[in-house]
Symmetry: C2
DNA sequence: TAATCTATATCACGTTCCGATATCGGAAAA
DNA sequence: TTTTCCGATATCGGAACGTGATATAGATTA
């Protein structure tokens, strides 16, 4: 319940984290979990793939301790998208916290 | 594009407005349009019905100038949901606007 | 009685969500 | 070397959601 309100937040978090540094699937699941957003791999991976298709994220693989990881980072388009999303959020916050 | 990030915001706006006073479909479409969120009736009405099913909104009909309007207001559950969403947004904003 | 206006409702189809399950690739154990 | 295990990514199938287009309905105007 209330999931439909928060799914967008989750995606924004993903963009945000991927703008700060490389992230990968399992780490995101744990990190978002720490913020109270539970999401399953069946939700996350398709989201990552879509964001990549939309050229908001780019990816590269790395072998870490023998396991292959796919790291994601924002593209410049993704960074720009994030800024415009940030603006919209501030606007929203301004509106829904005014008397 | 970027729609998937904003859809949640739209729903929050709806809750917010319905918490401040009675709202109805067409008015919401116009109001949200003013904020740069375009949405068609095919999106809005199902959302209103769902929120009503989830008992976040309640509705009543009124005859206004001969036309029947369905006004929506938040229930107390809806008001509580809105508060918790507000908290989450502030948390999100805090996180994505910090260095 | 037809056309118009405001407003809500629904249809059909594609997309997304999501738990469950499968798969992968390398390391270590056997 | 092959089997087992583990971190990690991928996919499946059904349900839910999103959306433009279209329908419906009542009142007013022509």
């Amino acid at each position: 319940m209330l999931r439909e309100f928060f799914l967008g937040f989750i995606k924004i978090h993903i963009l945000h984290h991927a703008a700060k540094g490389p992230v990968y699937g399992l780490w995101l699941i744990e990190e978002l979990g720490r913020h109270g957003y539970k999401l399953s791999p069946g939700t996350l991976y398709p989201v990552l793939h879509r964001l990549q298709e939309e050229k908001l994220l780019k990816t590269y693989q790395e072998n870490v301790g023998g396991k292959i990881r796919k790291y994601y980072r924002t593209t410049s388009k993704g960074t720009r998208a994030l800024s415009s999303i940030r603006e919209k959020i501030l606007e929203l916050v301004g509106e829904i916290t005014e008397s």
